[in-house]
Symmetry: C2
């Protein structure tokens, strides 16, 4: 039986101590893994990074730990994406969309909660520089955390910080062996590294650091860390959970006009009409002014036609919001005798 070709190794870093704020994590890793070598990728569980950086919420004796946890989630979140019972999926200041803002109540004393590192890329850069000082080695660093997935049960480890390695490997524009151009393939290599490391960390317990050897990544310069992994709003098809879309509409006292309001309203009414066929009504909309659309009833004005128009309007406003518009409705002052029912203002909120 011949031996296998060489590949990658995923090596646990054993013998690390419990960490507290102010501890020298790099020195501890250097002491526990003097075998670190150039080209290694050191994957560090975010929890120990947060602990040494003091990213902890203290839980005083007698305090309600769960209440403090919920408050911390709110403090760390810039946006609630979806909510169900006590579960909140939020976007954090770092841009990650994660349940409970990534705040962890496990593997920490009962007297504290652990937040995500303030800036995981900076943490990774710091560790990388300090490991070079300590051991004279050129390693990449990935800070990992455990995230859920939208449509798959179970959690996997992903990167919330990195240094010395490109987060994405871009295959776009290259051509495969059959002459097909690869259009959309970018591999999130730091996430795959975090998952690979978790196989070793999860197998043993109390092992917060693992090393992937054999990949020898090139360090990018400048190094954007994990920033390229954050999906920007324009590309996000799931900015809200389905149960959270209607309620997510922000009130709009002021609006900044934005081009394209008439086609957007046309599409929104078309979608609303198709979805609500039991509210038949003939309506008209248009207008000259930037960002304002007049909405008219051209059917006879009855309670039924007005309710029908309203239903389409309500659904269309939800649709417009899903498309990134902010809206404000003003009913026409002269109700009853005229077919003008109101005006819909569209735009974006002022910054």
């Amino acid at each position: 039986m011949s031996s296998p070709p060489s590949g990658l190794s995923v090596l646990p870093v054993t013998g690390l101590p419990e960490f507290s704020p102010g501890d020298d994590l790099a020195a501890a890793i250097a002491a526990a893994a003097p075998w670190l070598a150039d080209g290694d990728v050191v994957v560090v569980t975010s929890k120990v990074v947060s602990k040494v950086e003091g990213r902890l919420v203290p839980v005083p004796p007698g305090a309600d730990r769960e209440q403090l946890r919920l408050k911390a989630v709110e403090d760390e979140a810039v946006r609630v994406v979806a909510r169900r019972g006590p579960l909140a999926i939020v976007q954090t200041r770092q841009g990650w969309v994660v349940a409970a803002a990534g705040i962890d109540a496990s593997n920490v004393g009962q007297d504290a909660l652990v937040l995500l590192p303030e800036d995981g890329d900076a943490s990774a850069r710091g560790l990388r520089a300090r490991l070079r000082e300590q051991l004279g080695v050129d390693v990449a660093v990935v800070v990992s955390d455990t995230f859920g997935r939208t449509w798959r049960e179970g959690l996997t480890d992903v990167a919330v910080g990195s240094a010395g390695i490109s987060a994405l490997i871009d295959h776009r524009g290259s051509v495969d062996a059959f002459g097909n151009r690869l259009e959309t393939t970018r591999t999130a290599v730091v996430d795959e590294l975090a998952s690979a490391a978790d196989l070793v960390k999860g197998k043993l317990s109390g092992v917060p650091v693992a090393v992937v050897r054999g990949l020898a990544p090139d360090a990018p310069d400048p190094d954007p860390g994990t920033r390229p992994l954050v999906r920007l709003p324009a590309d996000d098809l799931f900015p809200y959970g389905a149960r959270d879309l209607v309620g997510s509409r922000a009130p709009a006292a002021e609006l900044v006009p934005r081009a394209g309001e008439l086609p957007a309203v046309a599409e929104a009414f078309r979608i609303a009409s198709a979805a609500l066929p039991e509210f038949p009504v003939v309506l008209q909309y248009g207008g000259e002014e930037d960002g304002v659309v007049d909405v008219h009833l051209t059917d006879a004005v009855t309670t039924t036609t007005a309710v029908n128009l309203g239903a389409l309007l309500g659904a269309a406003i939800v649709q417009l919001h899903a498309q990134g518009w902010t809206t404000r409705w003003e009913p026409a002052a002269t109700a009853g005798g005229t077919s003008l029912v109101g005006r819909l203002w569209l735009g974006t909120p002022p910054d």
Copy 2:
């Protein structure tokens, strides 16, 4: 410098040929990796599984490959989750939610498209049994594919089939070293294995199989494969993309009543009212009959109050749909003189 403790190895299986329908994949792997050993996890790219299983859509000379691809996506999908331009995120018959139904136009000849394996777990079981026959080894098998993620750029490999290994490692109910009970932690270990294998497969090119050595998983019995990874509808907070929610409402000619319609309507109107504060109206709803809610205007009936009521109704219906209800609206026959505006029927569609 001491040597590292032993961990996992991720080993490429090199020297495999191109595969065609009917080829013996297990025999080819056995020939290329005679070093396979008990406890190894063999991770096979779904593409080569699909190729040997004939899960290909032929593209005749002169045919429009992109048109055939779009049609194949529709054939493989049971549900469109979100759509933007040519991008469709769908749920496949196997339960996976994935862009373009996982259909791949790369790494295959211009004369074909590659579908996902019909049943990746069965494929994995077959490979596991055949590798035991060929080499006398007890290995686990993971069939992997490359998926995107909702809020993270870049793709990672995940499992679409498995055999001889539990897809999820369940840590729920266990207690950490600090006495905290771990409530929600289940690790999707087969997905992490797929990602680890991709680090080796992606580094080299044309390497569709990699082996993870050192994990030595226990084989579950019975073996549900990757079925536990599929998130069921009741737990899915993102059944639709935000832009697709309003339009996703299915028409309801018939409804099966379901308990809880009044609290659901109350919550939907509450959410709609909070989201659409510029449609103020006093409405009343209630009713005795199962699955039917009477909706009354208690304000003076004017065009404005009727539009306001309609707007809340339209938004509330969208919200009810997001909560899993199906609805039908019937306007009241006696419009004008009465405050009864209509009846909302709620339930689930007949199976």
